[in-house]
């Protein structure tokens, strides 16, 4: 009987909600060490040797899939990308069928992106692999929150007490939900900023402050986190036009001036330049940490794979 400490007790990473601050801190510390390792040019290809990692993407994604692929390969895993086109889903293959197929392939680590909230949780009940949620519907995107937190921590030296403004389409954002859970757990002060039609019901119950005036929301912020506005939101009537949205909720120099002088600007990508963010800011190396977010993404995913693989060895 061993009492060794488990960073992800469930054996999966399905959500940030439910993780305790020490777990989050341990993941970030491990990711930090992988960031240094990656910069040194060294690799650690024996850690996941002989392990199979499957990237199972029911939604298109280049950035996140590539990031997991690189993370897996740097740790020595055999990485397979499965893009499940919507057509085969339309042919009647269900998630449960997919799970049966994956079990037959003896997959160890399964990275899942799906358009439906809760789909990775459903898969995790049916597959023998450790499941990592790479974004499910409007629920969570836990590795994005980890990489955002690591980026902030490296720039600001801490998370506790920082004022973080998350701006834009919070209603449909899994990135926002995961960040809210992580940052509030780590005692940052989280604000969400957007038009009332894009703020989820009872959002304040998640421990955030809600602002509809972006200038007020950015006042004194250490971190400005922009979210992607999907074009469908305009056609769905939640926002009348992109020009109106940019005027009141797009990040430009004038609005950013309300944040702290050393505030950093983040975006999970892909950006809609001229809708939620002005190019001049997105490309400003003094302000934008968007490139560093991508770099930290690989490190965080390596940390998550590492932690879950330790459990695989423990159970073997």
């Amino acid at each position: 009987m061993s009492f060794s400490y488990r960073i992800l007790p469930a054996g999966h990473l399905l959500a940030i909600e439910g993780l305790e601050p020490p777990h989050i801190g341990a993941l970030l510390d491990l990711a930090e060490s992988y960031a240094l390792l990656n910069r040194s040019g060294k690799t650690q290809r024996d850690l996941l040797k002989g392990r199979t990692l499957i990237n199972l993407f029911f939604e298109d994604s280049t950035r996140t899939r590539t990031s997991f692929e690189l993370a897996g390969k740097r740790l020595g895993a055999d990485v397979i990308n499965m893009s499940v086109s919507t057509s085969s889903v339309n042919k009647g293959e269900t998630l449960i069928d997919t799970a049966t197929t994956l079990n037959a392939m003896h997959c160890d680590l399964l990275v899942v992106r799906h358009a439906q909230s809760g789909a990775p949780a459903l898969l995790s009940q049916k597959v023998s692999a450790s499941v990592i949620n790479a974004g499910d519907g409007t629920h969570e995107h836990p590795t994005q929150a980890l990489l955002d937190a690591l980026t902030i921590r490296r720039r600001k030296g801490r998370l506790e007490g920082l004022v973080v403004a998350i701006c834009g389409d919070v209603l449909h954002s899994r990135v926002a939900r995961s960040n809210i859970h992580l940052l509030t757990a780590m005692n940052a002060r989280v604000r969400i900023v957007g038009p009332p039609t894009l703020i989820p019901a009872d959002a304040a119950r998640l421990g955030v402050e809600v602002f509809h005036d972006m200038r007020a929301g950015l006042q004194g912020a250490d971190v400005v986190m922009m979210l992607r506005l999907q074009k469908e939101r305009m056609t769905g009537g939640l926002v009348p036009s992109s020009r109106e949205f940019f005027r009141f909720y797009g990040l430009d120099r004038e609005k950013l001036a309300h944040a702290k002088p050393d505030a950093i600007v983040m975006h999970p990508g892909p950006m809609n330049r001229g809708i939620e963010i002005d190019s001049a800011i997105a490309d400003d190396p003094e302000r934008s940490v968007i490139g560093e977010q991508v770099e930290m993404g690989v490190a965080c995913r390596m940390a998550v794979l590492d932690v879950l693989a330790r459990d695989l060895r423990r159970n073997a």
Partner: protein, 428 residues
């Protein structure tokens, strides 16, 4: 059929307030007499009821059944099996089947199929609009002659105010009423859970609770201008119940009429039952916050709610083993209707007779049926109940075909030990 004497039972008849030890004698499928110490006629069979409760078979106002069109989910034969095990002897079924029950021949088909079970009276609702499509009124007069018990579009709300006005008005001419699924469809479209903190955390599209109150308020106004009778099914929110309570206080004899029912999930569960993506707890209307559950209990206590219906909605694994928002709404309810209602009795919220009244005499009165009471000359639809016997609801072990109970794992107290339809034993 020889006479049967049910001996030494605790007789419970909510219609008259009877609660006492006695015997009940059945001849030719009809209750001949009941009281303390009836003699045993020669050749009469005896059912020893010592320590057990004998009450009228339950009258259930609302069930979706698979037939016609969805026999893979459930058939009338399997519905009858589940109903008998749940003590239900009269069951009203929704018309939004495939095809919809908008033709007298289809209504007669369901009635005949019910009679063929020999254990259950199936009372079909007629479609309120053709094909339950919400546009043109169905033939209420012909459907009623064929046996339609009232009119509804089932799980679909009658969305157009004009159509609802006409339906209430036209039904009144035939002495009938309209059952509404009270949910404003444009507010509910695409929703999977009650809008609020939990849906926000789970990333599920929400249905604002006001979608129910808005429809209830509109339809009360339409009942008022037509003098019609609207019945709201599975009412689940405090706001809607307040509106119904106020309308009932205002309604005068001979004028418009407002009645309603609720279903066990809405007074036994709250929205937290969907945590961890439990699709078996995905219902329509969705489960509500605790404050609404408490309001439903209060409305049962003060009589605002006229009946408790099972709101049985059979779904199979393919309907339910999906990501939450894609899974079908609906829960199996026949086998648990009585047990979950009795949980409110054992929990001290409702007196026993008042709870049973909501399952027997009150729904029967609403429908104008002679069922649901232990009167001399009434059909011998009977239920023998062990009030204290415990059991556990287990997915996979429920009677009948549908296993999608939102109460999976729930421990209940009070078990049906026998059911009789017109004097014939159909369960136990």
């Amino acid at each position: 059929m020889p006479d049967t004497l049910y001996a030494g039972a605790r007789l419970l008849d909510p219609a008259t307030g009877l609660d006492g030890i006695g015997d009940l004698l059945v001849r030719d499928g009809v209750i001949l007499d009941h009281g303390a110490g009836l003699g045993r006629p020669d050749s009469a069979g005896v059912v020893d009821c010592a320590g057990l409760c004998l009450l009228p078979g339950l009258v259930d106002l609302r069930a979706d059944i698979g037939e016609p069109g969805h026999e893979h989910r459930e058939t009338i034969a399997s519905v009858a099996q589940a109903a008998a095990a749940g003590g239900i002897t009269t069951l009203c079924v929704l018309p939004d089947t495939d095809p919809a029950l908008d033709d007298p021949a289809l209504v007669q088909f369901v009635l005949r199929r019910g009679e063929a079970t020999g254990s259950l009276t199936l009372l079909p609702y007629g479609a309120a609009t053709k094909a339950c499509g919400g546009k043109e009124l169905a033939e209420y007069g012909l459907l009623k002659e064929a046996g339609a018990v009232a009119f509804t579009d089932g799980r679909r709300a009658i969305a157009s105010a004009r159509t609802m006005r006409l339906a209430l008005s036209y039904a009144r001419g035939f002495g009938s009423f309209i059952v509404q699924h009270p949910e404003e469809p444009s507010l509910a479209a695409g929703g999977a859970a009650t809008e609020g903190e939990l849906a926000t955390r789970l990333g599920l599209p929400g249905i604002p609770p006001a979608a129910e109150a808005i429809m209830v308020q509109r339809d009360i106004a339409l009942a008022r201008i037509t003098g019609g009778h609207v019945h709201f099914a599975h009412v689940s929110t405090a706001a809607a119940l307040d509106l119904i309570r106020a309308a009932k206080a205002e309604a005068l004899p001979g004028g418009f009429r407002v009645t309603c029912d609720t279903a066990p999930p809405y007074f036994d569960l709250n929205e937290t039952a969907i945590g961890d993506w439990r699709t078996y707890a995905k219902l329509s209307p969705p489960l509500r916050p605790e404050a609404d559950r408490l309001a439903v209990v209060a409305a049962l206590q003060d009589g605002t709610i006229d009946a408790i219906a099972s709101d049985h909605q059979p779904r199979d694994a393919d309907d339910k083993r999906l990501p939450f928002a894609q899974a079908e709404a609906g829960g199996a309810g026949l086998a648990t209707l009585l047990g979950v209602t009795l949980a409110r009795v054992h929990g001290g919220d409702l007196p026993l007779l008042q709870a049973l009244d909501l399952l027997t005499a009150r729904p029967a009165r609403l429908l104008g049926l002679p069922a649901g009471r232990l009167a001399k000359g009434a059909p011998a639809d009977l239920l023998l109940l062990d009030l204290e016997r415990g059991w556990q609801v287990k997915d996979g072990q429920l009677p009948g075909k549908a296993q999608n109970s939102p109460f999976d794992g729930r421990a209940l107290e009070g078990r049906v030990v026998g059911t009789w339809k017109a004097g014939r034993r159909v369960f136990g």
